[in-house]
């Protein structure tokens, strides 16, 4: 019975639904929270769903990591595609850079205006 779970279509379905749920969690946080920190951390959670989806959909049952070791002597078609993993590595680093820049902007904004809530931002004079 357990072997039916260890099939590629089943794992792909689980990964799709899970990343959908994670994207929903991130978007709910980003849309409903008022604190700027919580908004940007929710966007980071939504980004994580993309990573899981991209890596997970390129996995197939029975394939191994694309690394030559003592047991695996040579590269073969029995290995996972290495290109998506390298692309997601790039994406993760860029996500960290953008998140850090956004958080530093929030800190400086708080130092200048003593305010961290989106619905009380009024620097451009709108909404009076």
């Amino acid at each position: 019975m357990l072997s039916s779970f260890n099939q590629t279509p089943f794992l792909h379905t689980v990964i799709t639904i899970g990343s959908l749920l994670l994207l929903t969690i991130g978007l709910v946080g980003a849309l409903s929270k008022k604190n700027l920190f919580k908004i940007f951390l929710s966007l980071a959670i939504a980004e994580a769903s993309l990573f899981i989806y991209f890596i997970g959909m390129h996995f197939e049952v029975g394939k191994i990591a694309p690394i030559v070791t003592d047991e695996v002597i040579q590269f073969s078609s029995n290995m996972v595609d290495p290109v998506p993993q390298a692309m997601i590595l790039t994406t993760i680093v860029i996500a960290i850079a953008v998140l850090a820049l956004a958080l530093s902007f929030i800190i400086n904004y708080f130092k200048l205006t003593n305010n961290m809530r989106v619905d009380e931002m009024n620097e451009l004079g709108e909404g009076r």
């Binding site: 792909h12 799709t16 990343s19 959908l20 994207l23 929903t24 978007l27 709910v28 849309l31 409903s32 929270k33 989806y53 959909m57 197939e60 990591a65 694309p66 690394i67 030559v68 070791t69 040579q74 590269f75 073969s76 078609s77 290995m79 996972v80 595609d81 290495p82 290109v83 998506p84 993993q85 390298a86 590595l89 790039t90 993760i92 680093v93 860029i94 960290i96 850079a97 953008v98 850090a100 820049l101 958080l103 530093s104 902007f105 800190i107 400086n108």
Partner: protein, 235 residues
Amino acid sequence: MSLKRNITIETLVISLLVSIMTIILMGLFLDFETTTLSIGTEVLKNNEAVTKSANAVTSVVTYFRGFDTLGEVTILFLSIFGIGLGLEGYKEKLNIFAYDNNLLKIAVDVLFPLIILFGFYVIIHGHLSPGGGFQGGVIIASAFLLMFLAKNNDFSLNHKIMELIEALSGASFILIGVLGLLIVNRFFDNFLPLGEIGKLFSGGVIPLIYIFVGLKVSAEITALVEYFIRIKDVE
């Protein structure tokens, strides 16, 4: 403030709809039928002959898409640069997140060199095992984070050495690319002897590139950690 007020039905419905549409769009763009010919199979077929690197992901990151990695490191550098612009003229800042814990203070002296050593191990073995420059750099930065948490304001970084490491490693990274352009006629091409697959001295320029990327990333993430942990102005 109750949960009901924060999350209305509207936001739930909108975010569900947006995420469903995003997934459908991704499914349209990325049609997952297993094809026999893709870039991945091509890379796996040629990797052993071209790069002699045991880790195919590393050879994609540093060799086949080396220009991409240069852009990635540039983005990381620009983000740290933008964070540094927010600093108010190198004023003395106080650490507000430190634990005043004697056990941690003693243990960190033992743990700090071990974590640094592990980070360098991950960086240097990037072409043989999972890991590499980015991962090892973050491990080294985590050692400095532990140091900041344990030793309150007694521990501070020498900014000149950090900037020197960052600048020199970034410049050497580009220098390797330009040397490849001059000698072998391709940016980030291999101009060193390839060696035997699976050994430490193999892969040509790949370990060199990853060592420089690791040094640069560790210096940058350490500066980032220091910025976020020393945030309070000295009165």
